[in-house]
Symmetry: C2
Subunit: 466 residues, 2 copies
């Protein structure tokens, strides 16, 4: 009996040691490979040049536009050079909207300041004012709820001016955005309920500057649509100051209009897994942008990140165990139809996305990833992945709970893990949906670090699964 015990003990001890050794050994190899990823990304990166070309040659690539068709072809050609197993275009019908002529917004004959031109940018999906434009008195509100308080008597026939700023004390600017974006998305629909004739919206940025920021707006059934235009934060301050002391009339004109859905594509490239090809790890961003700029941060950065991941793996001669799929989604900005089509097709094929990683928060220094999944599996999966993820901490990356991304969210029902790259968010809304979202707002190294971070996470997911 003692002999047996001793044997058991020795066996137990030996197996612990070898397990420990195996684990350390593996961690060392993983750490080494992740280091190689960073070296490749920072010394021989391609993504900055790609982004420069995409944002300058195929800027304003709103879904359904000629520019977006050019962008589809551009990224397809890049994927074709990456020695993938397959590259294809996935057809989808996308929501479409056209801006029309340059917007006009003008304070008209104010008692104290006379006539002042403001800069304006029609919100996505908005109808036009008609070619004659419209003039009405402005009433400023701080949010949707205030409409209810004021009631039809104070709103009817007026232009409602939504002016609640983003909260600058939020550390993560996305939280500040989330706290103010309802005005832009639902402002026109809600104001119309009370008889407003038009809507002006303070741009969603914490900066005080002259750039109006566009973005999606939605109408509601049963309420007549009214036109809505974003104005810059500086113009919003000016208008607000004036409106507080006197009646202000504003002339607004835009000739934008929704169009019928258009045919377009998601662009997809794939390396087939060598051991578990049925387990898919998706890496992606959205290819469409707003029409007013290069869409460098939103979301050209995410697209070149995703392609760079595949290029780096190829350069390092890495043969993935699982299927790695790069998906560049169409129509995230004003319809999400590309993402919905992708999930529909994937579900119909009974595919399993073990993980999906989206980069749609800009090309800034990455600080980590947010992670989510279907409730039934999340707690257990998160526990496992957060241990592995400690290998990324030397790169200043941390894992937190939180959304993955608009394009990958429809895949949640497949019960894999969804990740969102979290770059430093301080500058994102300086450029978001505005005319200055161009390549000069992107720092090469910060962009490259994003690609390296995603590649590192993807490597760990591929090596160890869930």
């Amino acid at each position: 009996m003692y002999y047996f015990r001793a044997l058991v003990f020795i066996f137990f001890f030996a197996s612990q040691v070898s397990m420990l050794y195996a684990q350390e050994k593996t961690s060392d190899e993983d750490a080494f490979f992740i280091k190689s990823i960073y070296q490749k990304a920072l010394s021989q990166g391609a993504c900055y040049q790609w982004l420069s070309d995409l944002s300058t040659q195929h800027g304003g690539r709103i879904a359904g536009s000629a520019q977006s068709a050019g962008a589809v072809e551009f990224v397809r050609q890049i994927l074709d050079t990456l020695q993938l197993d397959s590259v294809w275009l996935q057809p989808c019908m996308v929501s479409s909207w056209e801006r029309g002529e340059k917007e006009q917004v003008r304070i008209v004959n104010s008692p104290s300041r006379g006539t002042i031109d403001l800069g304006g940018l029609a919100l996505g999906n908005t109808i036009g004012t008609g070619t004659a434009g419209l003039t009405a008195e402005v009433i400023e509100v701080q949010g949707l709820d205030e409409l209810e308080e004021l009631g039809r008597s104070k709103i009817e026939g007026k232009i409602v001016f939504f002016n609640r700023p983003m909260d600058p004390t939020q550390l993560r600017t996305f939280n500040a955005y989330g706290g103010a974006v309802d005005q832009r998305v639902y402002g026109a629909a809600r104001a119309a309920r009370f008889g407003a004739v038009g809507v002006l919206v303070r741009s969603l940025t914490t900066r005080l500057d002259d750039f109006p920021h566009t973005g999606v707006s939605v109408y509601e059934e049963g309420t007549p649509p009214i036109p809505s235009i974003a104005i810059s934060t500086l113009d919003a301050e000016l208008l607000s100051q004036l409106a507080r002391k006197e009646k202000v009339q504003v002339f607004m004109r835009n000739t934008s209009s929704p169009r019928p859905d258009q045919p377009s594509f998601n662009v997809i490239g794939e390396i087939r897994g060598s051991e578990f090809p049925e387990e898919i790890i998706l890496v992606g961003g959205h290819l469409d942008s707003w029409d007013v700029a290069g869409g460098a941060h939103d979301d050209g950065a995410g697209c070149v990140h995703a392609m760079e991941v595949l290029r780096i793996l190829n350069q390092l001669n890495y043969r993935p165990k699982r299927t790695i799929r790069c998906v560049l989604f169409m129509n995230e900005e004003n319809g999400l139809k590309g993402a919905l089509k992708y999930a529909e097709v994937s579900n119909a094929k009974n595919e399993f996305h073990m993980a999906a990683i989206e980069s749609d928060a800009g090309g800034f220094t990455p600080r980590g990833f947010s992670c989510t999944a279907d409730e039934s599996v999340f707690v257990e999966q998160f526990k496992k992945i957060i241990q592995r993820f400690s290998l990324m901490e030397p790169y200043g990356l941390y894992l937190s709970k939180g959304g993955g991304g608009a394009d990958i969210n429809p895949l949640k029902s497949q019960k894999g893990l969804l990740f969102g790259l979290r770059p430093d968010s301080q500058r994102y809304f300086d450029y978001h949906h505005a005319a200055n979202d161009n390549i000069d707002a992107v720092n090469k190294r910060e962009l490259e670090l994003g690609a390296a971070a995603i590649t590192g996470l993807l490597y760990l997911l591929d090596q160890y699964g869930l």
Copy 2:
């Protein structure tokens, strides 16, 4: 005996609970106060406007210059508004150097490309070429050691071109800088040993662009000084390509020259501690900059950080237990004489700097602090402070071992803790010592977050000491 034991146990248990409770309570209050700091910094910050004024109205404030005298007065006036207990100027003699006329660097009559003008920026402390300039053949080297290998026969009479780039694979760009800066600092002195007549240095940045970056250089006794000029990374690439295939002659001209030491000042403001006034916590940056730009990141950011810390504490009606001293040092860039004078005076008065925090790494999103101290006390002190510091982790801040800063380093012998703010370093060397280090390179929120981070750390140090 059992009774006694039970009593002891109860007493022990109760004291543990109350300690635990006290600690949690305190942490809650601390967390709340730190949150207030961030709210103040992000919603009512003054530092961005200060930096805008400092860098535009008092740019090029190299030590000993009229601009630096204007900057002294500017920050003194700000400190005067902050309701401190005292504000004073500490006289010091500073190293001085003057650039002279715009530099000329020209590839002369190269066989394949003819004559090409390059951009040049004389290195700090360098002598001039004489008004006639000098022309000589260029020999490219990758570092100081290569001089030895080549020997006098290959170097004598030539212009040595130091062209080892910063290593882009370093995650922290300061490490890459540390790996290349010896060429700039010692290049001229070493090349002169082998009879070189002049030195060109590749600019210290990971970017490929047209900005030459200046910075300090030093001569050695017994070797005749020769002139040295920085050229941009793009010009360095061009020159290198040419020099590899043919003999290249370069004309270089600069009329800069060292001057005698000049009188100047460190600018100091202080809130006297209410409980432990003899324990000083210093917060500072350096007021001088190079002469070629606004010195927005280097180190205007550090100066306004330090002043903002005091303003925030004042705004929050915080009465510090320990003496808080804001010190804006003069002459960090080319002599460190302000810092040396400050330490000399402090030591003569037997002062004790319990802690010193320097911000001299730019106004980018803070990632944490590095921390160091005299060896005899460091391990124990670091252990204590890292526990407290966990309160800063929700703000994305981490504490690491590493240097505090050039200006506070002379205080190490007082055996307090030295901290350096560590902002994200990716963009720092895009602007460092170059003509583009201006306010438009600074993001308001990123700057404000640095001030909040320092204020938070200072608060914890003030509350709990070492």
